[in-house]
């Protein structure tokens, strides 16, 4: 069955997008990403360590940009200006690459997004020709506005970044998904495989996660679990679940032919 994720006119087999942070080393990062089957990987843009020994390996040596679709992010930005500046540098760094993840934070403790700054940055970036995948709160009105601005995907949180608290408001996510004309991906909050399956069963087009894999006891094993959970949740969504009933007078085994 061909069921591809389509973002900004490009299609992907995998609906699991992963971050590249918080791993023990680059080898573990690579092994976990391979196990996850992810095709889109996020990276952060940071000041180069001047004086770094010339031969020291970099993330790009382990994850060549030719093999993956890079999704540079604006993690750590607290204003629209900083986010736009960061992504313009990312575009230069990655040879004109347009697909980006916009996130503008509002508070260093909760990492809750600042949607006023996010909307301002999204407007500038879309005008500037970027394909913007935008991290947002799970407010259906904000999500719609981001779509109308021209973002190519909206990515509401399921719970706070790095919290692993799972899908805290499936009803809001449901409303966002129902109203959206662009892909909705859950970004942040997934803690374990069942969370990923639940998000996909709601009708999300995909999931972006980092800590749930990187901070697991065995990140590589968890990466494989997440791959299966995303696939299982997607198939369950497409299949359509049976209706919920408090009880059923219809047992699965025939009532005829009982031994009496």
């Amino acid at each position: 069955m061909s069921d591809l994720l389509k973002i900004a006119d490009k299609t992907y087999q995998s609906r699991l997008l992963v971050g590249t942070g918080k791993y023990k080393d680059f080898a573990e990062t690579r092994a976990a990403i391979d196990a996850s089957g992810a095709e889109i990987i996020t990276v952060a843009i940071r000041r180069t360590n001047i004086g770094q020994t010339a031969g020291e390996p970099s993330l790009l040596d382990f994850l060549p940009p030719e093999e993956f679709t890079y999704l540079p992010n604006t993690a750590g930005c607290y204003s629209a200006d900083d986010a736009v500046r960061t992504l313009r540098l990312a575009r230069e760094l990655l040879d004109g690459h347009k697909l980006v993840k916009l996130e503008v934070l509002g508070d260093p403790n909760t990492l809750y997004p600042n949607m006023i700054e996010t909307i301002a940055a999204a407007k500038t970036l879309v005008k500037d020709g970027f394909d913007v995948m935008v991290y947002c709160s799970d407010d259906p009105i904000i999500a719609k506005q981001l779509e109308e601005i021209g973002c190519v995907a909206v990515m509401p949180l399921a719970s706070l970044i790095g919290s692993g608290m799972g899908i805290l408001n499936p009803w809001n996510l449901g409303i966002i998904i129902e109203n959206a004309k662009v892909p909705v991906l859950v970004d942040a909050g997934v803690g374990t495989a069942s969370d990923a399956a639940i998000a996909m069963e709601l009708g999300c087009q995909g999931i972006l996660m980092n800590t749930a894999i990187a901070a697991a006891g065995n990140p590589i094993l968890m990466a494989g679990a997440m791959k299966k959970a995303v696939e299982a949740g997607r198939e369950a969504y497409l299949a359509g679940r049976m209706p919920r009933k408090l009880y059923s007078a219809s047992p699965s085994s025939p009532t005829a032919g009982l031994i009496t």
């Binding site: 180069t48 992010n73 230069e92 760094l93 990187a214």
Partner: protein, 67 residues
């Protein structure tokens, strides 16, 4: 010449470096990076032709792990 690179002051012996010269001095040749000079991005194709001036503020960035 005096430059401010990634938030730190640095001085260099030659008086008129280009961005390409600077990249060489910092042993960053061949690294994937992007450079901003006084708030404006310097495209890689202009590293050779972009002359630095005393007091320039430079940001040199690369891709690192992140979520």
């Amino acid at each position: 010449m005096q430059l401010n690179i990634n938030g730190k002051p640095r001085s260099f012996e030659p008086a008129n470096l280009t961005v390409a010269d600077l990249v060489q001095h910092l042993e960053l040749v061949g690294k994937r990076l992007a450079i901003e000079r006084n708030g404006e991005i310097v495209p890689r194709s202009q590293f050779d032709s972009t002359q630095l001036a005393d007091g320039d503020k430079l940001e040199i960035v690369g891709a690192v792990g992140g979520g």
